[in-house]
């Protein structure tokens, strides 16, 4: 098959990624264009086999945007698990648990709902389809298409290519989807988003984006042992004061408990292992008592952008815009991005309606998106917490002081500064010879106490099995490491190969001895969290989508 025979599909607007940002954006766009008398075609492509299979979140959903988009969502059967019924905030020491004396109103989850993001996006996806939006699952966007530096659409990934790069008998060449506007709603660390940001230097003059990783398990508990709507957040153990983050424990329907740990991808010690931190959390007597007689039934991990307002890139270029986590609309202090992702999608829709009416999709029209964001409550919400994450560079206690002062002063750092700078997360990693870490090539000694008993604590391979992840093994690995010599030599010496530790799915393995060492990439384990792409100290790992449809098959995460 050649370029001449490549199929082209023309649509008016293309959304990449069927997350809450795109789904809300597409639905709103369909409705407002309909009202304006325009009949436009809207397509969404999604790399997962079905909508929701790659959705992972907490999640506590703030219904604010949903109230605007689908006011009768309760009648329409929105799959919320329960309204937040009780909420707790604890500081954990390795054995103890201390209640925070006071929970600021802005951090309360009153009126919000515990939900599974995967169930929520499945529901929203069905509504989109009912209203005439085409959702193409199993199609990844593999390349942005340009005409004179203007984005004109997306090429979907080829399917049916073997591990040597040859066509299999069912080879299916990727399609060029041309659109007047392409909206990137790829979620965290989007692969197309990354190329767009680099090509047009969209982070210029902004704080670098910083990410966190969330590692999560679902537990089936004995009857009536966890109340739907139960919400607890913790700080302290096992992360200590040097690593940003904390745990969340939510009660869902049918006696299912969400247990997750979020930690900043700007930690210093290269032997830190987020999966192991989650296992450590379960050694805490209180957490352990919560899980008593339960059974772990699902696992997953995903990164999330934490940089906040100052880390938002320029949001538009000619022919394209960034929404949701792809742009970084995430409130780190509240650990909430779903309502912001949806709202950013809706504001993008308003911008596109205007562009359709003017028939002008250049940046000069699309850039009105930024103005709309700034006039909306998105800015109000994000601006208040604009210095939240940066302060964690100084450790947990100063950061809490900062959070408190910020609450009093509308978000000023330490109560004074308007804009705290930050640096790239991977640049925080310290070299082995600096002696600042407890590990080395042998791993971190604080994990020695972990006994993977298969009941409460699990090794990575067991957990990955519970993520129901599957990739056709006969394809070119979708994790591109530019120069594995760096891994084998420089990285081993300087950082002790942190990829072995930060990957929550055991994708990276150093095998062999001495002169025969090499990096083995078990790409079929990959749960699409993008941590390697973010945290690799040399920035030589490139995550690209695997064959469409491959990856985790999450149901309730």
């Amino acid at each position: 098959m050649t370029e001449e025979t490549r199929q082209v599909l023309d649509v008016d607007v293309l959304f990449v990624g069927a997350g809450s940002a795109s789904l809300a954006g597409a639905l709103h766009l369909k409705r407002i264009t309909g009202k304006a008398g325009l009949d436009i075609s809207i397509a969404i492509i999604e790399k997962a086999r079905e909508v929701g299979a790659h959705s992972l979140s907490g999640a506590i959903i703030d219904p604010r945007t949903l109230n605007e988009l689908i006011p009768d969502h309760l009648e329409k059967g929105v799959p919320f698990e329960a309204e937040v019924a009780e909420e707790h905030m604890y500081y954990l020491s390795s054995k103890g648990k201390f209640r925070f004396p006071y929970l600021p109103k802005s951090m309360s989850h009153h009126g919000c709902y515990v939900a599974s993001l995967g169930q929520f996006t499945r529901w929203l996806g069905k509504i989109c389809e009912q209203e005439g939006i085409d959702i193409f699952c199993g199609f990844s966007g593999s390349e942005l298409l340009y005409e004179n530096e203007k984005v004109i659409g997306v090429r979907t990934g080829d399917r049916g290519i073997d591990k040597h790069g040859n066509h299999k008998s069912n080879f299916d060449q990727g399609v060029d989807i041309h659109a007047k506007t392409t909206v990137l709603g790829e979620g965290t660390r989007g692969s197309l988003t990354k190329t767009l940001i680099n090509k047009f230097n969209l982070m210029q003059g902004k704080n670098p984006q910083v990410w966190a990783i969330g590692v999560k398990e679902l537990w089936q508990m004995p009857k009536d042992s966890i109340k739907p709507g139960y919400v607890a957040h913790t700080m302290g153990f096992p992360l200590g004061h040097d690593i940003f983050g904390g745990a969340f424990i939510y009660g869902m329907k049918n006696d299912i408990l969400d247990l997750g740990l979020v930690m900043g991808l700007d930690y210093k010690d290269p032997s830190i292992d987020p999966h192991h931190e989650l296992q450590l959390l379960k050694t805490h007597p209180w957490v352990r008592s919560l899980l008593k007689n339960g059974k772990m039934i699902a696992y997953g991990a995903k990164s999330l952008p934490e940089g906040g307002y100052f880390s938002l890139p320029k949001l538009t270029v000619d022919g394209a815009m960034l929404i949701g986590d792809s742009a970084g609309f995430m409130n780190g202090q509240r650990l909430k991005g779903i309502h912001l992702a949806m709202k950013s999608g809706m504001e993008a829709a308003e911008t596109i309606l205007n562009a359709l009416q003017k028939n002008d999709f250049s940046d000069s029209t699309l850039s009105d998106f930024q103005n709309r964001i700034d006039k909306s409550w998105i800015k109000t919400e994000l601006y208040k917490v604009r210095n939240f994450h940066q302060a964690f560079d100084y450790g947990l206690l100063p950061a809490l002081v900062n959070t408190g002062l910020g609450l009093l002063t509308g978000g000023r750092a330490w109560g004074v500064l308007n804009h705290l700078p930050s640096k790239n997360g991977h640049e925080h990693l310290t070299k082995l010879d600096s002696g600042s870490q407890s590990g080395g090539n042998g791993g971190n000694s604080k994990y020695d106490q972990l006994e993977f008993d298969g009941n409460y604590l699990f090794d990575k391979v067991t957990n990955v099995y519970h993520s129901a992840t599957a990739h056709d093994e006969d394809q070119v690995p979708h994790l591109h490491v530019q120069d594995t010599d760096i891994c084998i030599n420089r990285c081993t010496e300087e950082f002790g190969n942190p990829c072995k530790y930060f990957c929550p799915a055991d994708v990276y393995e150093m095998t062999g001895e001495d002169n025969n060492r090499h990096l083995q990439i078990n790409f079929s384990n990959c749960v699409h969290c993008k941590t390697c792409d973010i945290m690799d100290p040399y920035q030589i790992i490139e995550w690209v989508p695997p064959e469409g449809g491959d990856g985790p098959a999450w149901v309730n995460l």
Binding site: Q7, L9, R49, E50, A53, D134, F136, G138, F139, T156, R159, G160, K168, S169, N170, D172, V175, I177, L218, Q220, N254, I256, K295, I297, A298, Y465, H466, A468, T469, A470, G548, A553, V555, N556
Partner: protein, 259 residues
């Protein structure tokens, strides 16, 4: 050729399955549902025959409401229309009764070929194709690894026998054929194919449409459990020569992979 393909929705083999407390069912809220593996090969074989000889491919499933998805997928890959059989009264029927329901639905269509996967990944009965052949008075071929239409009334099928042997057999049409996984490389649904789905029809069939004598189940499930681990690891010791000798012995006599 007018070909029907039977497709069942089953739990994904990669999802981690949890047995419910009653030990009679699986906990469904954590399952990913997919089209049964060998049914995908059956669909592909039907589409290939259609491409070569013309005709029509109709996808048919019996299942819960979520099973509509397998029809959508089949239509996206190129099936012309769908038949969706669903009724809560079918939920706990055994395979013979299900066969009666399906036969009653398909009878009036006068298919030349009914293709099914060899067995479903959930129940693994491996009987439906055969039962349909009997009820609808069709010839039957199972474990099929190749097909070739000879003329309007004859098809040749390559059947898998034991030990790596195959047999080509001629069957008179109409025929019910059970397809073995691996016979072909199932295609992907294309963007255009997915867009076409909206324009294709799916006929709904419920219990009131079925003309069959009393449906009942002669099979009851008493308990679902994970098989006890009975695997044994055998350590062979000795010099390399002794070990290889013992290994060959084992391969020949116990595991029977060498002659």
């Amino acid at each position: 050729m007018k070909i029907c393909v039977l497709i069942k929705q089953v739990p994904d083999k990669d999802s981690s399955l949890t047995i419910a407390d009653d030990h009679l069912t699986l906990v469904e809220n954590n399952i990913t549902w997919v089209s049964n593996e060998s049914d995908n090969y059956a669909l592909e074989e039907a589409l290939l025959l259609k491409e070569k000889h013309g005709g029509e491919v109709i996808a048919c499933t019996l299942g819960k409401d979520s099973a509509r998805q397998v029809l959508k997928d089949a239509l996206a890959k190129g099936a012309d229309r769908g038949i969706f059989i669903s009724d809560s009264s079918f939920d706990n029927l055994d395979v013979l009764s299900l066969g009666k329901v399906i036969a009653s639905t398909l009878e009036k269509e006068n298919f030349d070929i009914i293709m099914s996967g060899l067995q479903s990944d959930d129940q693994g009965n491996s009987q439906l194709g055969l039962i349909l052949a009997e009820l609808l008075n069709m010839s039957h071929g199972s474990l099929v690894m190749g097909t070739e239409i000879i003329d309007d009334s004859t098809i040749r099928v390559k059947k898998e026998l034991e030990g790596g042997w195959f047999q080509w057999t001629k069957l008179s049409l109409p025929a019910s054929i059970s397809i073995q996984s691996g016979i072909n490389s199932p295609r992907y649904a294309t963007l255009k194919g997915i867009m076409m789905v909206k324009k294709k029809t799916v006929d709904d069939v419920t219990a009131s449409d079925i003309s069959s004598d009393a449906l009942e189940s002669n099979v009851t499930i008493n308990k679902i459990y994970v098989p006890d681990k009975t695997k044994e690891t055998q350590f062979i010791e000795g010099s390399p020569e002794e070990i290889s000798e013992k290994l060959v012995e084992l391969f020949k006599n116990d595991i029977k992979v060498l002659n």
